[in-house]
């Protein structure tokens, strides 16, 4: 049923329809509306015998789910940013133990400086933990990916993060087609764990593994992701069969046919990029776009097959590997190894900086005409940066950088006012 609804509310409705049995939650913006809604539903008795635990930290939240999942329960939580990093050790543990937990990441920048707005630094920091990572383009896809995530997680016995842009999606009111219970029940079977704590059949889960078998255990974790490359498109297709709309999959293409330049991105910014592609196409530029829905596993082969004829890939990414540049672009480069395709890195949208259509168009044109420096930072205030660099040279005790920059930008906006 279509309704005008906030992204977080819509995701909470979708999670509830998946009949979770244990949820453990800790508040952090911008995911809080999701767990608030779920707590109300549990307390009202709308989700069967589901248990909702208010815990003392994100580390505790995911740890509770590790225990509950090992006991055979369907489990869910949501977090972001500092919360995801605070639970980092448990993130690795959940994946290493092969527990099919589903977690929403309401993507947000990681401090310091503290910043509550959107970028992808948080989930990128956990990209190698062994979780599948699916990125939603809009709130409809966020809803759909959560339902698919439980299927995927439980089929592979592997945890899944559904990443949706903080505020941009979580707090946006859009029309969303919310599924009904019968559809979800038809799509999502009961959770049949591959390992469970059972007094009738006792097993040791989480035993110590030395050099004689650790590498094999890690390989098998990698193998799950290889299997996921096949499972994700299939599960997406089965979703379409029941819910009558395409959603998810490894990646989505927009006017990539005969495109000389392809802009690649994750998450909601693809909407802006599609508009930019439309404008550029109207001006005669052979430009297309790819939305990478599955970041883990990384669909290298599929991507290579699609873009092998393109001259240039411009990766617009909301993260920064400090000291190196792009995270996604580096993986794209590896996927395209041996091809003449140029891969550009555009670092954009950090800490919630808006990514405008005009800036995207300018960056794509610059990439095509004269090439971009590596990495290219979109819309940086170079004047403020230069003044701060000079101050640091001139004064040993130059003070805290973020405060200096805020002062710089405050002063310059006063001048223009």
């Amino acid at each position: 049923m279509k309704q005008q609804i906030e992204g977080s509310q819509a995701v909470a409705q979708a999670v509830a329809l998946c009949r979770p049995e244990v949820m453990a939650c800790y508040p952090i913006s911008p995911q809080t509306h999701i767990v608030e809604t779920l707590s109300r539903k549990v307390k009202a008795g709308d989700i069967g015998h589901c248990q909702f635990l208010n815990v003392e930290s994100e580390f505790g939240a995911l740890s509770v789910l590790i225990g509950a999942s090992a006991m055979g329960a369907r489990t869910y939580t949501a977090t972001t940013s500092q919360g995801l990093l605070f639970m980092a050790e448990a993130v690795y543990s959940a994946a290493g133990l092969g527990l099919p937990i589903v977690m929403t990441i309401a993507n947000r920048a990681v401090g310091a400086p503290i910043n509550i707005w959107n970028d992808h630094s948080d989930s990128m920091a956990m990209r190698d933990a062994g979780w599948l990572q699916l990125f939603a383009e809009d709130n409809q896809e966020a809803v759909d990916l959560h339902i698919q995530a439980f299927r995927l997680a439980e089929e592979l016995s592997c945890p899944v993060m559904v990443c949706m842009d903080g505020y941009i999606l979580t707090h946006a009111f859009e029309v969303v087609d919310l599924p009904v219970q019968e559809q979800v029940d038809a799509y999502l079977p009961l959770f049949e764990p591959v390992q469970v704590l059972d007094p009738q059949d006792p097993v040791s889960i989480g035993a110590m593994v030395g050099p004689e078998a650790f590498a094999e255990v890690r390989y098998l974790a990698h193998h799950k992701h290889v299997q996921a490359l096949e499972a994700i498109p299939r599960i997406s297709q089965e979703f379409q069969d029941i819910f009558r709309r395409p959603s998810g999959g490894l990646l989505k293409q927009y006017h990539t046919d005969e495109a000389e330049t392809i802009v690649l991105a994750l998450g909601s910014v693809i909407g802006t990029i599609k508009d930019a592609v439309d404008d550029l196409r109207a001006e005669g530029w052979l430009v297309g776009a790819i939305q990478l829905c599955s970041y883990r596993p990384f669909p290298s082969q599929v991507l290579r097959h699609i873009v092998h004829y393109a001259k240039r890939i411009v990766v617009i990414e909301k993260d920064l590997a400090v000291g190196k540049g792009g995270i996604v672009s580096a993986e794209v480069k590896i996927a395209l190894q041996g091809l003449p395709t140029v891969v550009d890195t555009v670092i954009a949208g950090l800490g919630g900086r808006p990514i405008s259509k005009a800036s995207v168009i300018d960056a794509v044109k610059a990439a095509c005409l004269e090439g971009l420096e590596e990495p290219h930072f979109l819309d940086l205030n170079w004047e403020a940066i230069k003044r701060e660099l000079i101050r640091q040279v001139e004064q040993r005790r130059s003070g805290p950088t973020p405060e200096n920059l805020l002062r710089e930008i405050g002063l310059s906006s006063e001048k223009t006012a």
Binding site: E21, V22, A24, G48, H49, C50, Q51, L53, N54, V55, E56, S57, F59, G60, A61, S63, V64, L65, I66, G67, A68, S69, A70, M71, G72, A73, T75, E89, A90, S93, L97, L197, D198, P199, D201, P202, V203, S204, I205, G206, A207, M208, V209, G210, E212, A213
Partner: protein, 335 residues
């Protein structure tokens, strides 16, 4: 008092005592049908107090629950010596995730059991003192305040032994560890630091808190059994000497544990809903020196004699004697 304690004079000694008792009063461990939750063949050191405590505690839980138990383990000696792949000493469903999250993992197991209506299956979480009083403290406090249906057992050997004897928040005053070396002005762990987790647990107002010792395994089993007769968050803190870290003779583990109790340094008591309800009295208080002098971790207090330190530690023991009324001949107390 629901349980009549076994007296020395009734049984001779604790070690042979079982044979002199009625069958019903014997320890779980003395029975043919004990479950061997932690089976033999594991890799604990000679004289390991923790392995002994865990074996008694978990078999008592198994008996109390008709074998319907799930155990969650923190990282540490107990996890490492029992589980190196592909061997496992555990005869029970057993889950290890991390060093600092065993209480939360156990809360999750309990929540799943509640969601599935399987309330006959009970959950025990266990960890060493490092996992309990330090790195897992946040999760433990959360499990307590939510009153989750978990029995948490801390095996307290008073330092990080698995990593090679480093100080924890449970390391006693003036003890040598590899991070509180016996050098400088106040050799060993400084006095006046550390935390008393049983008291902190009591401050959460949970249904049951008890201390126990491998020196009195009958008492240990009784407390575990009592804990399993209750629901909600329960905590048992078991004193388990570590020959490696305490630099003591492995053959003396039980004796040293008993001296800790009889000196007053490790008081045995139980509390319900935040109030002390019972304690094990001491027939004759021994001096702390008798306890300390058997352990190499305290040898810097004797060569030359550090009268000030010994007096300070004696003061701590005396304070416990007073606080818990340990020399009283009254059968029980309410405070």
């Amino acid at each position: 008092m629901p349980y009549q304690r076994v007296k020395f004079y009734q049984t001779g000694t604790f070690t042979v005592g079982n044979r002199l008792l009625d069958e019903a009063d014997r320890t779980v461990q003395a029975r043919m049908d004990r479950t061997n939750s932690l089976n033999s063949g594991h890799r604990a050191c000679q004289g390991c107090g923790e392995a002994l405590g865990a074996r008694y505690a978990l078999d008592a839980v198994m008996r109390a629950t008709q074998n319907q138990m799930v155990a969650v383990n923190a990282t540490g000696c107990l996890e490492v010596f029992s589980s190196p792949y592909p061997e496992s000493a555990w005869q029970i469903p057993w889950l290890h995730s991390l060093f600092g999250n065993a209480p939360a993992v156990a809360s999750g197991v309990a929540a799943a059991l509640r969601a599935k209506g399987k309330t006959d299956i009970r959950v025990v979480a266990q960890g060493g003192d490092g996992a309990t009083v330090d790195i897992g403290f946040g999760c433990l406090s959360g499990m307590f305040e939510r009153n989750d249906d978990v029995l948490y057992i801390c095996y307290d050997n008073e330092a990080y032994m698995n990593t090679g004897v480093q100080r924890s928040g449970a390391t006693p005053a003036r003890a040598w560890t590899n991070t509180t070396q016996a050098v400088g002005i106040e050799p060993g762990n400084p006095a006046g630091v550390g935390k008393n987790l049983p008291r902190i647990a009591m401050a959460h107002g949970i249904p049951f808190v008890a201390t126990a010792s491998v020196a009195d395994l009958h008492d240990l089993e009784t407390k575990v059994t009592k804990a399993m007769s209750m629901r909600g968050a329960r905590y048992i803190h078991i004193h388990v000497p570590c020959p490696l870290g305490w630099k003591s003779d492995p053959a003396q583990t039980i004796k040293i544990a008993r001296l800790a109790v009889e000196s007053g340094l490790f008081p045995l008591f139980e509390a319900e809903w935040g109030v002390v309800t019972d304690r094990t009295t001491i027939r004759k208080q021994i001096s702390v020196e008798q306890y300390l002098s058997l352990q190499g971790r305290f040898k810097h207090l004797f060569n030359p004699r550090d009268e000030q330190a010994l007096a300070a530690i004696q003061g701590m023991a005396d304070q416990n004697i007073h606080l818990y009324d340990l020399l009283s001949t009254e059968p029980a107390m309410e405070s």
